[in-house]
């Protein structure tokens, strides 16, 4: 179980423990300070908005989906597939002249189907989540290639784009861009769901030690089905948002988010007392990744060096986290 193994037991309140948990917020602060000094435009409102909308929003939503799967002791490698499916159906529906809400519903449903398929494989057939969702990813790729004649994007002409779509992708509310409202909505809903509902607590228990959940009579199988459908549905939201932003469906784009989503989820576990996946931590992890890639761009690193920079950063955070856990265990 990923969550389980990642979560070394934490003694409450020890100083080293606090230090570790403060690691992510402090890193965020330091990175922020560094870039605001080295790149004056870093703190400019326009830049902040661009960071949040372009680098942060989509990854945050996908990472929240990933967090749900990891919290239940599994993983979902097919979050990108759900995103793609949602985007495909949404854009196709709009392109064929469907009403926005029909397209929206169809997209969310199509994305969720990937989750239903995962749930069938994991709960029904007993395949481990890693392999099951890997299989879904592969099959999803074929499905997209077959339905798009080998990966030809579908573009929406200006005239076809629904005003609701424009609002989703490019609008704002109270001066704050719509995508950010959506992230806020998804994050707060899921945070409450995971922390403070019976369902969320059961999911956490399954992630910590599934046999105990089973021997305590919790509805383990039903909860896991819900988790994978939920993860896919959340990814589908990201798919709709992406399509609304670029007014197109580009096959197999979702997978580009996969690795960063896993990275953000595990970076996020560092702020939890017991090292468990949690929504706030994940969102902060995504923020860190977004800030670093934007900051590196502003200080003049090209796109390629940004990849190296963010990759090295994730690596570093993991090293520090796990090294201090190991050190704490020994002492």
């Amino acid at each position: 179980m990923a969550a389980n193994a990642a979560a070394a037991p934490a003694r409450s309140g020890s100083r080293a423990d606090l230090l570790l948990r403060a690691g992510l917020p402090v890193t965020l602060l330091l990175v922020g300070l560094f870039f605001s000094f080295s790149a004056p435009s870093f703190l400019a409102p326009a830049n902040i908005e661009s960071v949040l909308v372009n680098n942060f929003a989509l990854l945050a939503i996908i990472s929240i989906a990933m967090t749900m799967a990891v919290a239940s002791g599994g993983i979902d490698l097919s979050v990108g597939t759900a995103l793609d499916f949602a985007s495909l159906v949404f854009v196709s529906a709009i392109a064929t002249g469907q009403n926005f809400y029909v397209a929206l519903f169809g997209g969310l449903l199509a994305g969720s189907m990937a989750g239903l398929f995962n749930a069938f494989l994991i709960v029904g057939l007993g395949i481990t989540p890693f392999l099951a969702t890997l299989g879904t990813l592969f099959i999803g790729r074929s499905v997209q290639q077959l339905t798009t004649g080998g990966g030809i994007p579908i573009y929406l002409s200006k005239s076809k784009v629904a005003p609701e779509s424009v609002f989703l992708g490019h609008g704002d509310l109270l001066g704050i861009a719509t995508p950010l409202w959506i992230v806020l909505l998804v994050a707060s809903t899921l945070a409450v769901l995971l922390r403070s509902t019976v369902f969320g607590r059961h999911v956490t228990a399954i992630g910590v030690q599934s046999t105990v959940a089973w021997y305590s009579g919790l509805p383990v199988r039903r909860n896991l089905v819900l988790v994978y459908i939920l993860a896919a549905a959340i990814s589908a939201i990201a798919g709709i948002l992406l399509s609304s932003t670029v007014n197109a469906y580009v096959p197999s784009t979702g997978n580009a988010f996969l690795l960063n989503a896993i990275g953000a989820t595990f970076i996020g576990t560092t702020i939890d007392r017991s090292g468990r996946p949690n929504i706030l931590g994940t969102v902060l992890g995504v923020l860190l990744l977004a800030m670093v890639s934007n900051g590196l761009l502003l200080v003049g690193w090209n796109f390629y060096w940004q990849q190296v920079g963010t990759g090295a950063l994730i690596f570093l955070v993991l090293v520090v986290t796990f090294a201090s856990r190991r050190w704490r265990k020994v002492s």
Binding site: N4, A7, P9, A10, R11, S12, V192, S196, T197, V198, R201, H202, A205, V208, Q209, T211, V212, A213, W214, Y215, S216, G217, L218, P219, S274
Partner: protein, 503 residues
């Protein structure tokens, strides 16, 4: 004990070992004469395993001296110990399941030919050794994972013997064996001794010590309280040395009047495991259940809790049938299970005491649709106080608790749900004596509060001490019902092995 030092095969003196402020060994000593079978007993936490791990080179002692054949040895390492002629038969069989017998026996000292493994030679040598030592022949090409537990143990002994040890250490070797296999193991150990091998035998079971050992050393609180000859010392006396308290006080007798039937099991049938089992449990009653491996007791527990589905038969709680085969429905009907594998199935080790206690009763703490942390904490604190869980902090990780306190957390988890039938599967296995007494007290309080209890156990004193009646299982059926407090060891043994029926 006037033996000169040089005649000792092994002497460990005044060993001290601290683990982060906890003293595991406080000046323990252990002396082994050549050619004897020497038992080592003590409760959990007495320092047995620390002592053995020091001998195995896994821990280094903080103080103390170790001599082998009169020569000082410093800084033992797991690898070096083998070269000094000491071999271990570990409790959990340390064999790779996908290896052949030959590969398992010779791992680390493989026979090679021209740089490649001489597989056939290793298989042949392993087979020869097994045949020579134990007169058995395993199926050709069998993998370790395909062998029975007892066969795996023999492979491990052969692996140890192939290193030509002078001292062989058996760590709880019978834990997973059935009676017949235990007898055979003992005969084999006797024979090894006749071959001149000195043996250290660690066990919880004093009967085994009495049967097998020439001398036994008793550890308590990190010190040795004495070395005696078990053949001339009554078992009760040895037990007394281990616990330093009168074991007659252990069972707080508490009989409560029986109420309505709460659980009715009729005609349960499951291929190979259970044959026509019926029973009735009343409020306030404690039924003891016992039986050997394969007797069907464990399967009955699994069926009752919905972990396994019977072929036919019904279960009723409070007069209404229970949907079979799902733990969640069993729990809905206020059935509770305290499983034998506490750390694997009973408590979530990396969750806090609070989270464990409230796991099955979260609906109770909902305030406005959300789980209220404050309500949870109030309930956790109440149960922590009531059960005396130590440390009394709801946010402590359960991993950091002692076995007895972990078991209390499991019971608290079900108390929070106010269950009506509690199934306790070996609830005192591996907990120390103080916690044992508290668990018995708790069971007494459960029935006093109107609940009913099924106690699955192989501990005779426990069954006699607290059960109202004892059901003995043999080959899938209940062969005998005995009254609690009146069951003799002989009777239980006779019925559970089928000897009584045959007679």
């Amino acid at each position: 004990m006037a033996d000169p030092k040089s005649e000792l095969a092994l002497s460990m003196r005044d060993l001290v070992k601290d683990f982060g402020g906890v003293r595991a060994l406080a000046g323990a000593s252990f002396e082994l004469r050549p050619g004897e079978i020497h038992g080592l007993v003590g409760q959990n936490g007495a320092g047995k395993s620390t002592l053995i791990k020091i001998l195995a080179g896994i821990y280094q002692p903080d103080e103390g001296r170790i001599e082998l054949n009169g020569r000082d040895v410093h800084h033992l390492t797991p690898h070096g110990v083998g070269q000094l002629g000491i071999q271990f038969i570990h409790q959990d069989r340390l064999l790779v399941p996908t290896f052949t017998v030959g590969e398992a026996v010779f791992l680390g000292r493989e026979a090679t030919f021209g740089g490649l493994l001489a597989r056939r030679r290793m298989e042949r040598q392993a087979r020869d050794l097994l045949h020579e030592q134990f007169g058995i022949t395993l199926p050709k090409g069998a993998l370790i994972g395909e062998l029975t537990t007892a066969q795996q143990q023999l492979v491990q002994i052969v692996r140890a013997l192939s290193n030509e040890p002078r001292i062989l250490v058996f760590d709880e070797p019978t834990a997973a064996l059935v009676k017949r296999e235990v007898d055979r193991l003992f005969a084999n150990i006797e024979r090894l001794r006749r071959q001149g091998i000195t043996i250290i035998y660690i066990s919880h079971y004093l009967q085994e010590i009495e049967r097998l050992c020439d001398r036994v050393t008793v550890l308590r609180n990190g010190k040795n309280v004495g070395t005696v000859q078990p053949r001339t010392t009554p078992i009760r006396e040895i037990a007394q040395m281990m616990v330093a308290r009168d074991i007659d006080d252990m069972f707080p007798k508490r009989r409560v009047p029986l109420g309505q039937p709460v659980l009715e099991v009729s005609r349960l049938q499951q291929a190979r495991h259970l044959n026509d089992v019926s029973l009735q449990l009343r409020a306030g009653e404690i039924i003891g259940m016992t039986g050997l491996l394969g007797s069907g007791v464990k399967e009955l527990v699994r069926i009752l809790f919905g972990l396994s589905r019977p072929d036919s038969g019904t279960i009723e709680i409070d007069g209404r049938a229970v949907a079979l085969g799902r733990p969640s429905t069993a729990v809905e009907r206020r059935l509770a299970l305290v499983p034998e594998d506490r750390r694997g199935q009973g408590v979530a080790l990396d969750a806090s005491i609070r989270e464990n206690i409230t796991l099955t009763s979260l609906q109770r703490y909902l305030r406005g649709g959300l789980v209220s942390r404050r309500a949870e904490e109030a309930e956790a604190n109440r149960l922590i106080n009531e059960l005396g869980i130590h440390p009394p902090h709801p946010d402590t990780n359960v991993r950091d608790l002692s076995g007895g306190n972990q078991q209390k957390v499991v019971i608290a988890k079900w108390l929070a749900r106010q269950c009506s039938v509690y199934i306790l599967d070996e609830p005192t296995l591996g907990v120390d004596i103080g916690a044992k007494v508290e668990i018995y007290r708790l069971i007494g309080e459960l029935v006093a509060g109107g609940a009913a209890v099924i106690l699955v156990s192989t501990d005779l004193d426990e069954l006699n001490g607290i059960a109202d009646r004892i059901l003995v299982f043999y080959r899938g059926t209940i062969v005998k019902e005995l009254r609690g407090g009146e069951a003799s060891s002989d009777a239980l043994l006779a019925w559970s092995t089928g000897a009584a029926e045959a007679a």
